[in-house]
Structure formats: C-alpha cells, structure tokens
Amino acid sequence: MTVHFVNQLDELLLRSVRMGNLVEDMVQEAGEAVFEPGDRLARRVISRDFAVDDEEVKVESEVIRLMALYQPVGPDLRLLCTILKVNNDLERVADCAVNIAERACHLDAAKDLPGAETVRQMDPLVRRMLRDVLQAYSAQDGEAAKKIFTEEEMVDALYAQTVKTIVAEGADSSHEMASLLDMLSVAKNLERIGDFATNIAEDVVFLSTGDIVRHQSPPEES
C-alpha cells in the first residue's frame, strides 16, 4: 500500500510540475506578445488557459482523493499541501499571463510607450523566477527556492519605476491613455507573477523544512 501511495504521490508531483511548465510557456509567450506585432502569440496564450483550468481541477481532486484515502503525515502531508497551494498559484499565474496577452492584443507599438523599457527588464526576470522556482519545486529543494526572495524585490522596484515613468511621461506623450493603461496593466501582471513565484518558493521551503516562512522579513544578507 505504501509503495502504491508513494508512486501516486510522485505521479501527482510530476503532473503538477508539468502544469507549471505549461504556465511557464504561457508567461513567456505573453511577454513576447507585448512587443511583437500582431496578436498570434497573444491568442495562443489565451486559448491555452482552458487546459490550465482543467488541469488545476484535476490536480486538486487528486490531492483530496489521496488525503482522504491515505491520511498522510509528515513529509507526505507537506507535499500534498504544497501541491494544493502551488496548484492554485499556478492557475493564477496563468490568469496573469492571459491578462498580459489580452493587453498585448491592443498594443501594436508597445516598444515606444513610456515604461516599455522597464517592462522589458521585468519580463525576463519574472520568467527566470518562475523557471527557477519550478525547478526547486520539482527537486523539493528549499534552499534553491529561497534564492527567489531577493529577485522579487528587484521586480517590485522595476514595477515602481514603470509606474513612475508612465505617470511622469504619459501625460505629455502623444500616446492614447488606453495604451498607457494597457502598459501599466502588463507591468502590474508581471509584478503579480513575481509575487506568485515567491509564494511558490515559500511553499517549497515549507515542503522541504516544515517551516512556514510567509509574512516574515527576509533574512539579512551577511
């Protein structure tokens, strides 16, 4: 019975990581869609959201089934709790990617907009955070996950800079207000993806150590 349970746990983690990879692809394509002419990539991102939603429900059902049937404890319980929370966060990351893609459909000349430069910096940073945290999640490596925390601060700083730029330059620019708001929305959704990546990192730390590290000041670097 135990071997059977462990196999099912492994399969579920793998399934969750695959869902993460799908979401990662969506975020990458959504970021590229902002600065690419046309809406081909953006439409592709939007269409993939159904698959993520469907997978989220299936993973959640499987977590509940395993909890009900096996009443796991210790690291098994931590893993199932983590999968459940990561599952929810990944679905919301996918929603952010869809939001970005929807904005991208209206942004044909994004590269000239105020704030575009910092958004271009945020995009690869957020993608790297997501990639790294999914690798840490797959390896159940809390130490690797902790490295995400400092990157979130960089994303927040870039987002703040983006807002400042749009406010400062937007009023005097020749661009339409709608385009400026679209760019602001793109930045906001990238910043939220960074937040979700950080949430996942916190969950991976819990998975690895059993310690809940949410809502704590980041450890001071020596």
Partner: protein
Amino acid sequence: MTVAPTGNMVKPVLSIKSTNALRQPSDGDNQGATHLSIEDFSVFYREFQAVKNVTMVVPSGRVTAIIGPSGCGKSTLLRAMNRMNDLIPGVRTTGRLCYLGVDIYGRECDPVEVRRRIGMVFQRPNPFPKSIFRNIAWAPRINGYRGDISNLVEHALRQAALWDEVKDKLDQSALALSGGQQQRLCIARAIAMQPDVLLMDEPCSALDPIATSHIEDLIDELKKQYTVVLVTHNMQQAARVSDRTAFMYMGELIEIDETRTIFTKPKKQQTEDYITGRFG
C-alpha cells in the same frame, strides 16, 4: 451532575512524600509540571533487554502517546510505569522511574499503592463478572473508601461518559454491555480509585470506529483532570488525541516531541520513515 466524591481511601504511604504533595498534580492547573520522570530506564526479560536506557518525562495534565512497531517495547515501558511487569518471572529493571520525584522501584515503595495512583486500562475490556455498580465499587471498598459509595460510582461513570447509558441498569451484569461500553466501564473503574495518572494500553484496538470515537472524546476530557499515557498502534489516533508523542523502535526511545511536530516535521529519519509507512 454529581459533586466530586469527598471520601478518602486508606492510603499506605508511598514514600517519604506526604499524601497532599502526591495529590497536588490532579488539581488541573498544573500543566507543564512533570508527573513521571524516566531516567536511563531499562527493562529486561531475563537476558533480553526490551526497553533500552529510556529517558523521558511525562508532563501533568497532558496526553502522551507512545507509538512504534510491534515488539518495540512500548507496552513494556507502559506497564513498567505502574509496576505491572513485576509479576512476570525474570523481569528486572535498571535506571529510575520516578512518580512525583519518588522512584517507584525504590525499596520502600509499595507496588499496590503505585498501581492505585497510576491506574491502567488494558487492550481488551476486562470487566469483572459482576454488576456494573460492583465493578466500580469493589476496589474502593476493599481499599477502605469511607465516603458515599453511590456518589463515587456515579461520579466515575459520569467522568467515563457512561452514566447516561447505564444509570437505569446498574444492577445488571457488566458483561451484558457492548465492547465500547465495557471499555468505558473499565476506565470508570480505574477513575474510581482516584488515580493521578491513567495508563492506556491500546484501549481502542478491540473496538469499532464509533466506540473508538467515544473513547477518544473521553480521553480528551480526562486529560483535564488526569495525566494520560497511551500506547497505540493507530498513528491517526495518536495524532488525534495526544499532546506529545514518543516513538520507540527496538527498545529505544527514538524521538519524543509535541505531537504536531512528530506528525508534520519529525527530527529523526527513523520517525519519519515510520509515520509515513516507509519502514523496513
């Protein structure tokens, strides 16, 4: 609701401690105090060492569960806590097992008095083939209880959450009760002796889930007034009812900690392997 019985047993002196000092931990507001203190304690069945140099404390007013695979020594350790192993030929102990600071294996210590203060409930319900009333009243009577025996019986049955089910048939045979009721009767019988500590050796293993649920609820109530030590094979039960959990393996105490810690992030790999079923 009955008032707590006020009659006194005729109590032999356990040791140099006064009776008042010994009874102090049952007052209910002493959580965290140490009731049983076990230091480098071993139990031998002739040459075989069943319990190996165990050191742990049992805090007052809390439920301590002992878990571990068959043959790990958990029942032997539990039975050692009120000298139940004394009657087994070839058993000897080393180290100290102290009840309120008094070594219960000390020369001047009366094992009968130890068992009165540290009561025990066994795996299988074992009521006497007598009426429900006499099952409860018998031991206090032969120990010279001087109060209102009916009040004592009612109080014990109420504390064991059995009164409402048996109050109209106290003269009927205890053997006519269901398994779960019989086990609660045995708990009432132990309570009637006004112990400080209740030892429970897999008290639910012979019971169905509903009776088990009754006993688990009862344990939760009992800890307000008694210190409970519970041996169980059922890890979910240990997780549900205990405040602290000790894990034993091959006679050794591997780990003891708060139950929530043992079942979420145990410190020792052996504990983790056992609770997750990856053992052996």
